[in-house]
Symmetry: none
DNA sequence: ACGGATGGTAAGATAATCTTACCGCCCTGA
DNA sequence: TCAGGGCGGTAAGATTATCTTACCATCCGT
């Protein structure tokens, strides 16, 4: 299972280390660039220290990788399975951002209203 | 500047709140599902508490959005990479066929109506 | 108005991180 | 050979953030 918390932290740690080396940086350089102390970087890569969202974002930028890759998120484009979804997504992509926002809110409302009575 | 640390935290906070509501969940439900206390969720959405990588990942999964969108990462491919599109598409898939039909017509109408004057 | 659900916030207890320091390893040059 | 420097891992007390419980206000549906 990939959503085990411990496994997740371990994978992030490994990828942080891998990405840093690929970027040709030392822990000390990273620490200085992010305004941290070197042990903090070391512990991040050992999986013994949490990585905050801010730090994650800065690290991804610094290492020139995506946050998604660091986290082991599957690339996952829109589900190719259902053709209706493809059609819908195509239509959605033509909308202006604000229209999309309104639509999303509408959808959420529809789902809440029309759900069957047994739903907790 | 989008990589200002304070702005980043604020944007994440806003998106967490937005995504949660779009997912139709209360702070209490989220807290229970993630094994947190409700105030923690509240502070996350207020930008007063850091969000760890683990939590970020779990929240993204729970809300059916990508981590990248939560963090405000610029979409690399403007294509189907927009998590809002994925979310919307997923929502659409829950609709009954006839409702989807009507919605698609509505989308087309929105697209035509709200276009700027130069549009043919 | 009541009861229940929701969300914001406070304060002390708790757990995490920070900071400094020391350690060993691997180079490289004197 | 061995001093010097860079690198990375780890320990321990100081510091800071988070947790936990609690109280409050607001909004609904009854």
């Amino acid at each position: 299972m990939t959503d085990n918390p411990t496994e997740r932290r371990t994978q992030l740690a490994e990828r942080l280390k891998e990405a840093r080396k690929l970027a040709g940086l030392s822990q000390g350089q990273v620490a200085k660039l992010l305004g941290l102390h070197r042990p903090s970087v070391s512990e991040m890569e050992a999986g013994n220290r949490r990585v905050s969202a801010d730090e994650l974002s800065q690290l991804a930028e610094l290492y020139d990788v995506s946050v998604a890759w660091l986290m082991g998120e599957v690339p996952e484009t829109v589900d190719a399975a259902d053709p209706r979804l493809q059609l819908a997504a195509r239509e959605l992509s033509k909308l202006k951002p604000e229209d999309l926002e309104r639509l999303l809110k509408l959808l959420a409302a529809m789902r809440d209203d029309t759900s069957d009575p047994k739903e907790p």
